[in-house]
């Protein structure tokens, strides 16, 4: 069974642009319009945030987007409803990113089944321990052809990176610096870490995220891996916009072409 994430990386080895947006943000029904604009204006992959009240790994910008989305009425139930027919319009690989608690309450099997039904390709759950995934949930994710993407950081040991790579499918999410999202730590200091990652020759493609916000940082990510993930900068760009599509077009053009 083929997965859109694998298809993407089979055809595109470099400069893959993955953009994160919290679902139901800025307004509840913006989820699909945002995805459509992202696809139309040149993103390669879409990461939809499942908003959570207590997003531990996120800085203020994504926290606020979560709070706003929850206030808008977003929940897993609403999200799956919104995504019911999205594959009629969106061919890009789509990931859901969020925290374990709402997913656990929804039920892991239910969640995976729903993802498969609507056409989601992968999931990022930063607070799901790798061991628990391997022992409890891996068969369920695999049954529904869902890739679970794990994170590595500059502090992750080589041995653990290898282990994460062996358990991950789709790609490995390399966090550029040890931080919460949107922290703006200097990526320039991370060259040794990126070199270390490259030297490990992982079986999965690698996308670098955290701190990617413009052409310079995206190019730096792309030159050290298969591409980059942008979250905070994108949320900031669209949070107060009156023209979602035009703003997204400008944003992506800025990342790709200056």
């Amino acid at each position: 069974m083929s997965n859109r994430i694998d298809q993407l990386f089979a055809g595109k080895k470099t400069g893959v642009l993955n953009i994160y947006c919290t679902a139901g943000f800025p307004e509840l029904n913006d989820t699909l319009p945002v995805m459509q604009s992202l696809q139309q204006h040149g993103a390669d992959m879409i990461e939809l945030g499942m908003p959570f009240s207590d997003p531990l790994a996120d800085g203020p910008v994504i926290q606020d987007s979560s709070t706003r989305a929850i206030k808008n009425g977003m929940s897993l139930k609403v999200l799956f409803e919104q995504l019911k027919d999205f594959r009629q319009h969106i061919h890009l690989p789509v990931l859901l990113m969020g925290y374990l608690n709402p997913v656990l309450l929804y039920g892991i099997e239910n969640f995976c089944k729903k993802c498969a039904e609507v056409g989601v390709d992968g999931v990022i759950l930063p607070d799901l321990p790798m061991d628990e995934y391997e022992h409890a949930y891996k068969p369920v994710f695999e049954k529904y052809n869902l890739h679970l993407i794990f994170l590595v950081t500059p502090e992750t040991s080589e041995e653990r990176i290898k282990k994460i790579d062996s358990v991950s499918k789709g790609f490995v999410y390399a966090v550029s610096s040890s931080s919460t999202t949107g922290k703006d730590k200097d990526m320039g200091n991370q060259q040794a870490y990126f070199e270390r990652l490259k030297a490990l020759a992982l079986k999965n493609p690698v996308l670098i995220g955290f701190g990617i916000k413009d052409k310079a940082t995206f190019d730096a990510a792309a030159s050290n891996s298969n591409g980059g993930i942008i979250g905070t900068a994108f949320i900031r760009a669209i949070e107060n916009t009156t023209n979602l599509d035009a703003t997204i077009k400008t944003f992506i053009a800025g990342v790709k072409h200056n």
């Binding site: 959570f52 009240s53 207590d54 531990l56 790994a57 800085g59 203020p60 926290q63 709070t67 929850i70 929940s75 897993l76 139930k77 925290y99 374990l100 608690n101 709402p102 997913v103 656990l104 309450l105 929804y106 930063p126 607070d127 799901l128 321990p129 628990e132 794990f150 994170l151 590595v152 950081t153 502090e155 992750t156 040991s157 653990r160 994460i164 966090v175 040890s178 931080s179 919460t180 922290k183």
Partner: protein
């Protein structure tokens, strides 16, 4: 101190993977893995080290003032027709049980080579206890505290500042303990190498629940010795303690967990009433979930968003309970009651007038349920008086019953 005894295999103690039954674990993002892994790999060994134990014991004795007295409350006993003893954690240096844990963790942090300390605080007692040990050891200290709590616990904010700590307001979410804890965890993610997070309660990722419980277990260790002296028996019939995250309760229960004759009673904050929509009674309102990286009972919406709890007492204003307590609840080992704001206030006024002790609002919740347990006159009841009420004076004075003209 017997803090390092190996308890794996006991039904009520943590297992090798950090679980109590189905509760516990370490649901952390990868950014926290090195920090938490370092603690998991080292904490038992450090706690077991004789030089650590010696230093810990000495500080508890000479600096904290332990053992804290076990006081036979004569007039309270007459009123409730039982033999009631108060474990006087309120007499500790800094005014609560919190310092037992901060002494332990600061010694641990030093052994791990950490130079910067962060902490969360609700009522401010843990923040003060952390700022105190940081001053003692000359380490930098940053305390996260919800904006609302900063307002309602002003004296403790002033104490932390005087002790040299930086108090950072947590402005996200409900702006109380839960959010302070979120901010502390985020700080730790951003400072993975030099910083130790002194978590103040028996919650959070493994090994915190077990580590904090072991440091607090000095409470029940002393109760056993003191009861033997006073009554000829080590074990009481009841141990009662309030529960927010559950550190004083965990410490008061610890050495009785495997003594089935000792009935354990936990008292949660009922707020304005369990079903009023303004409560922090987690076992009554919560479901299995993950909060602060621990799988435990927590208050949440049907969509899995963590609910903003409510209690008059900042220290109990937490939407979860530590995993040990979820396990004690689920197995029936402990009985869970809850006390409303009003009941807690009345209990505080009562203890003050009967025994001349002004308790912390948190501890008052435990006292408030003395009338609801069917004691026999000869039953020995230990109530953990986890802290003193100085920090709550404003609330106490504001709520003095009107018809007494200030005379309770």
């Amino acid at each position: 101190m017997k803090i390092a005894e190996n308890t794996f295999g006991s039904k009520y103690h943590v297992d090798e993977k950090g679980f109590y039954g189905r509760f516990g674990g370490a649901y952390i993002p990868e950014m926290l893995f090195p920090n938490v892994d370092e603690l998991q790999r080292n904490y038992l060994q450090i706690l077991k080290d004789p030089s650590f134990q010696q230093e810990f014991d000495q500080l508890l004795r000479d600096y904290v003032g332990r053992p804290s007295p076990l006081y036979f409350a004569k007039r309270l006993s007459e009123k409730y027709k039982a033999q009631i003893y108060l474990k006087r954690e309120d007499l500790n240096h800094t005014g609560a049980h919190k310092v037992n844990n901060t002494i332990g963790q600061i010694l641990l942090a030093k052994r791990l080579g950490k130079t910067r300390i962060i902490a969360e605080t609700g009522a401010g007692q843990h923040g003060v206890a952390t700022a105190t040990v940081c001053a003692l050891m000359g380490l930098e200290c940053v305390v996260y505290m919800g904006s609302i709590d900063i307002q309602r616990q002003a004296p403790n904010v002033a104490r932390m500042k005087m002790l040299g700590a930086t108090v950072v307001p947590a402005t996200s979410g409900s702006q109380t303990l839960k959010d302070a804890c979120n901010e502390a965890i985020r700080d730790w993610i951003n400072n993975p190498v030099d910083t130790h997070y002194i978590l103040g309660t028996a919650a959070g990722p493994h090994p915190y629940p077990d580590m904090v419980t072991r440091f607090q277990s000095v409470i029940s260790e002393e109760i056993k010795k003191q009861l033997l002296e006073k009554t000829g028996k080590e074990n009481p019939d009841y141990v009662m303690a309030c529960i927010g995250g559950g550190s004083n309760a965990a410490g008061a229960y610890y050495h009785f967990l495997d003594e089935p004759d000792v009935k354990l009673i936990a008292i949660e904050a009922g707020g304005k009433g369990v079903h009023s929509g303004h409560s922090a009674a987690t076992t009554q309102l919560g479901k299995l979930g993950i909060i602060h990286a621990s799988k435990t009972l927590l208050m949440q919406t049907e969509d899995g968003q963590i609910t903003e709890p409510y209690s008059i007492s900042a220290g109990l204003d937490y939407p979860g309970i530590g995993p040990l307590h979820s396990h004690l609840y689920e197995t029936g080992r402990a009985t869970f009651l809850n006390a409303t704001d009003d009941e807690a206030l009345q209990a505080a006024y009562e203890l003050t007038r009967l025994e001349g002790i002004i308790p912390a609002l948190e501890s008052s919740h435990a006292l408030a349920k003395l009338g609801q347990v069917a004691f026999k006159p000869e039953d020995v009841v230990v109530v953990c008086l986890s802290g003193r009420g100085d920090k709550d004076m404003e609330t106490y004075i504001r709520n003095l019953p009107a018809n007494t003209g200030g005379n309770v």
